[in-house]
Amino acid sequence: MNPPGLVTACAAMLRRDLTLAWRRRGDIAMPVLYALIVTMLFPFALGPEDTLLQRIAGGVVLVTVLLAMLLALDAMFSSDIEDGSLEQLVLAPQPLALMLGMKILAHWITTALPLIVIAPLLAGMLHLPGAVLPVLLLALLLATPVLSLLGAVLVALTAGTRRSGMLLALMLLPLCVPAVIFAAGAVAAAQQGLPWQAPLAWLAAALVLAVVLAPLACAAALRIALDA
């Protein structure tokens, strides 16, 4: 009659969220399409000048991918709150932080990973030089989980309020800016043939911290938010 082990519970959680995402695969593809659209609109808005596009390619891809992720962030807990599954999760005899960590992981897999996969395509559409691509991908691989983790904390905090989008955006801005600065710094350095490792190292350090602390903060925030 003891509750099942952590591994079973984590697997159940992860599997649930991935199944749900698969059932609604239309929604997973949303950020991807959104990123594609944005990238396609740029040549129209700026005129199809290759040199100009190439100059801004790295930055545009980064901003687009991060924004597409922000889009999906808001929905991380909302459906679970509406149908009462989040309450059930809070009441389950399992460490909430760990369960939330799994939810965040599932969210990253379903939103950030597809974006990273199509990033080369986006970069290609804007004629980014091929040599810069690995750096761009590395930057994305480090920056997106940071965003997912910190975003989850903020989403949890705003969960009890009527999902005030403004609040979320306001609080995320200070988080986005450093991520974009470091990531874009690395890409720009690579594009100019300079060393690009330092900014990425900073991002990696932030990621390690976030992986440890964010789920705990998220659990605490959620308990506060639901209590009304």
Partner: protein, 213 residues
């Protein structure tokens, strides 16, 4: 089934001058009650009298505002008794895109499952045979309720907190819930149930907890 489990001395759950405040106003008058293993308590009161609020507080979703809650004689520690309490509210906690079976599997992954219980059998038992693999969004209101109630059969727990478990059920569903409550209390479990009628409990005299706004 006029069988009564003798009360152990220590109550499973005890409330002492329990209260809850919203915007600094008490939602209901302070409550005192004891619930022993094998007992069923009916929470009664008009619409808006605070039944749902009470159950959510007992479940640990709302902070105890006033008074004290004791679990097996000691101050209630959420982490210690999380697996022992099962809550079913107005919101059923089912994912509409998953089937009833998948929903149960997730719950079992978190809470574990009773020895010998199995999702398919439990669903057939609650009257959803043939609907196990439909996405929950395609079920009727009463079928959804049944899918949520199937958790009671599958998951191990001592105390059930059921908020209007009879709503939307047909007569056979209501009878099924009543039998569920009987076997659960006969097995030494306890339950707190809110309802506006429909309880026909044959396992002894249920306790009544009346709520006043």
């Amino acid at each position: 089934m006029e069988m009564t489990v003798p009360h152990p001395a220590v109550p499973l759950l005890e409330a002492r001058a329990l209260g809850f405040h919203r915007q600094d106003e008490p939602v209901f008058a302070p409550l005192d009650f004891q619930l022993h293993a094998g007992e069923l308590a009916l929470v009664e009161g008009d619409n808006g009298s605070g039944k749902t609020t009470l159950l959510r507080m007992l479940a640990g979703l709302l902070h105890v505002g006033m008074g004290e809650l004791r679990w097996r004689g000691e101050p209630l520690q959420r982490d210690a008794c999380a697996g022992d309490i099962l809550f079913l509210g107005h919101q059923l906690g089912l994912k509409a895109d998953l089937s009833a079976r998948e929903n149960l599997r997730v719950a079992a992954g978190m809470h574990g499952q009773r020895a010998g219980a199995d999702a398919g059998a439990v669903l057939a038992d609650i009257g959803l045979a043939g609907y196990e693999d439909e996405p929950v969004r395609r079920l009727s209101a009463g079928q959804k309720k049944r899918a949520a109630l199937a958790r009671l059969l599958l998951l191990p727990a001592t105390l059930w907190l059921l908020d209007e478990p009879y709503a939307n059920l047909d007569r056979s569903g209501i009878a099924r819930v009543n039998r569920l409550l009987e076997t659960h209390t006969a097995d030494g479990g306890a339950a707190l149930v809110t309802s506006h009628g429909a309880v026909a409990f044959h396992g002894g005299e249920p306790k009544h907890i009346r709520m006043h706004a």
